[in-house]
């Protein structure tokens, strides 16, 4: 189980990964359905590190949408299903910081049952697993493009995972890194916030898109696909930004162009 040793900013203490230990692959629902390439790149990355990957087919969602909307009783049902599904795994790895934060940080609010809390504490975000647990700093990728990085707010602030995606990105050969101005500010997705407070969500998203256009990157990568779904939606709406692509960080970490 991963222990929280400091909060604000959070610092975690990880157990040791034993070579050959299988990890339970957690592919969040929207990645499964709309962004399978992010999931496939995740599998590829883990296998390259000789990590056996198992995909429990019972899995659905982590419960975050209902949790963030205040419907905790409904979220609890899904959380329990998640825990039943992943119980056999000491390591649960997924390509989404925000869903990882749901499991690791918020399960205990929905359901204080120690079993649930403990299973939630086994969930690790992909880049965090590679860098902080396995000690990987270079995945051997080559990606000759102008790239900017966006780190989702749950990844950044709830998990405190900022260095791992940065470290991995910097190891990519021939990549031209363009820093997003004001990169700590939220992109405005926020789950149901994006439709409940659509006007404000869009205003926040537009600032992000403006900054992205300003920094001159052609590709925006992120360890968070949900933010990308919102940003991509905005980019495609405007002919002036349609050429900018969005990709999960894992996809360019396996690239060899």
């Amino acid at each position: 189980m991963i222990k929280l040793t400091n909060h604000s900013p959070p610092v975690w203490e990880y157990p040791k990964y034993e070579p050959g230990e299988p990890v339970g692959l957690f592919i969040p629902c929207y990645i499964d359905q709309f962004f399978p390439a992010s999931g496939e790149a995740t599998v590829e990355l883990l296998r390259r590190q000789n990590v056996p990957v198992e995909y429990p087919k019972e899995q659905t969602c982590c419960g975050q949408p209902a949790f963030n909307s205040g419907y905790w009783d409904e979220a609890r049902r899904v959380v329990r299903h998640f825990c039943d599904t992943f119980e056999p795994y000491r390591w649960i790895v997924g390509p989404s910081g925000s869903c990882t934060a749901m499991c690791r940080v918020f399960f205990e609010q929905v359901d204080p049952d120690p079993r649930i809390v403990e299973i939630g504490r086994r969930v690790v975000e992909l880049t965090e697993f590679l860098v902080n647990v396995l000690g990987v700093t270079d995945t051997g990728a080559r990606y000759p493009h102008k790239v900017a990085l966006h780190i989702g707010c749950h990844t950044r602030r709830e998990l405190g995972v900022v260095d791992p995606p940065m470290t991995l990105l910097r190891s990519i050969r021939d990549l031209e890194y363009h820093e997003l101005p004001n990169m700590e500010e939220c992109c405005g997705f926020g789950g149901t916030f994006s439709v409940k407070m659509a006007g404000t969500s869009l205003a926040m998203g537009r600032t992000k898109v403006e900054n992205l256009a300003k920094c001159g990157a052609d590709v925006l990568v992120s360890p968070d696909t949900s933010c990308l779904m919102h940003i991509e939606g905005l980019l495609r709406r405007d002919p002036a930004t349609r050429h900018i692509q969005t990709k999960h960080l894992a996809e360019i970490l396996v690239a060899d162009e």
Partner: protein
């Protein structure tokens, strides 16, 4: 439970929280909050013990909030031996009655006020006006807002929404001064007008930043000197404080002073820090300690920590939503993230249940908060309460929607069925001439995601068999 129905703020809340979904703030608001948040971050980065200070402040406040009964009694004992009268008010109406009583006892006609958020909660100026007493704000920002007949948009910089040009026009209009947009000239005008008022006033009203139980001291911080004058020049001084302002010992004060100035404005220390132990000889002093819903926040162990707030304004400056909607959108005295967690508790979820939803839960507020209030977590918790308790967001339809969602996410077959329907829906949406509800809210400014041919699990089944 406090009665807030007399506040036109409550009415205001009803009509205005609707504004939360649409950005109304100016570009200037976004820029100045961003600038000030950056200053604070840079300042904090130069202090190696910053996180230790935050932790210390958090613990002291948590202790204080858990021991209010003891600490308030101790504070009262220690300040009243020096001739200060300490009074308690359960709600805003009672606090107003007390202030009016004091004013009438001393034949007060004119009041000067330094910055006090509690008096905004009380709508004190209106209450005084009703009995023929004029109250003048002396904090420059508050003065401007009062002249303009508006409400503050920020808890530290109330006139954040006004540009120098706005101020120049305001002074020309209301004070018959020649128009200028030059900062020094503007402050000179304000100073000239305000100076006389301190001397003419019969009573000064102030807030309290910290009340030290051990020594019976109130600490007031400020930058303009107006609080010093308002509290010492008139013959009567009334200090207003919420019950949560008390801290145990004088040695606890420095950590808060260090954090407050820096978090509020990026200053090492505010220009003035007043430690008041009692009335100036020959003058009278009162302290009014107000509950006004705070014990409701106290009653729930999960929300209690919100009472640790030292009103530095940092969470507002760091909030991407506040930066875009501005302070008025929150509908009551406290805007921004702190407003979204404290207002529902002070005025009730029935009135302010929508506020906790005015956030993308990005957590920038909690990261900035000098007393480490887990604001983002508080917001989700209050959403949970708002969905259950009587509130404007509680809805049977939404509950049913989430119930069926929970059902469909609790087994792989149901999941497959639901998600297949969603995929078909997203595919077909582009052929619809018009998008209803949440779909419409999404596509109003964004394209829907492209639907890939296969899902991850489909591919996995295919490849791994």
């Amino acid at each position: 439970m406090s009665d807030t129905s007399h506040l036109h703020g409550a009415e205001f809340l009803k009509s205005q929280t609707a504004g939360l979904s649409e950005p109304a703030g100016s570009k200037a608001l976004g820029e100045s909050t961003e600038r000030s948040a950056k200053q604070v971050r840079e300042m904090a980065a130069t202090i190696p013990q910053w996180q230790d200070w935050r932790e210390a402040a958090h613990r002291i406040k948590r202790y204080a909030v858990a021991h209010l009964d003891k600490l308030l009694a101790e504070f009262e004992r220690n300040i009243s031996v020096r001739g200060v009268t300490v009074l308690y008010a359960a709600d805003a109406a009672e606090a107003n009655r007390l202030v009016i009583q004091i004013a009438q006892e001393h034949g007060v006609k004119r009041v000067v006020k330094s910055k006090t958020m509690v008096s905004e909660e009380m709508e004190l100026n209106h209450a005084l006006a009703d009995v023929g007493v004029t109250a003048l704000e002396t904090d420059l920002g508050e003065y401007l807002v009062q002249l303009a007949g508006q409400r503050p948009t920020h808890i530290v910089t109330p006139a954040l929404h006004l540009s120098a040009e706005d101020c120049g026009r305001l002074f020309a209009d209301k004070l018959d001064e020649p128009y200028t947009a030059e900062h020094k000239a503007l402050t000179d005008i304000a100073r000239r007008h305000l100076r006389e008022e301190y001397l003419r006033a019969d009573m000064g009203v102030s807030g309290v930043n910290f009340a030290v139980a051990e020594t019976g001291t109130i600490a007031i911080v400020e930058n303009e000197g107006n609080a010093g004058l308002s509290t010492s020049a008139p013959p009567v001084h009334v200090a207003l404080m919420g019950i949560e302002k008390v801290i145990p010992r004088i040695e606890h004060l420095p950590v808060f002073l260090n954090l407050l100035g820096r978090s509020g404005t990026g200053q090492k220390l505010t220009s003035y820090t007043h430690l008041i132990h009692g009335a100036t000889p020959g003058k009278k002093m009162y302290v009014i300690i107000l509950d006004n819903g705070r014990t409701r926040a106290l009653a729930d162990p999960k929300t209690r920590v919100a009472l640790a707030c030292i009103r530095c304004g940092s969470c507002l400056n760091n909030c991407p939503v506040y930066r875009r909607v501005g302070g008025w959108a929150y509908g009551w005295v406290y805007p921004g993230p702190i407003g979204s967690i404290i207002t529902p508790q002070l005025v009730g979820l029935e009135k302010a249940g929508k506020l906790p939803f005015a956030s993308s839960l990005c957590g920038a507020c909690a990261e900035a908060c000098p007393v480490k209030i887990d604001i983002a977590h508080q917001l989700v918790y209050l959403r949970h309460r708002a969905a259950k308790e009587p509130s404007p967001v509680r809805s049977m339809a939404e509950r049913l929607m989430w119930k069926s969602w929970a059902w469909s996410m609790s087994g792989p077959l149901r999941y497959w069925l639901t998600m297949t329907a969603v995929r078909i829906g997203v595919r077909l949406a582009k052929f619809l001439p018009w998008h209803p509800l949440q779909l419409g809210a999404w596509t109003r400014g964004r394209e829907l995601p492209r639907v890939p041919k296969a899902t991850f699990r489909g591919n996995w089944r295919h490849n791994e068999k």
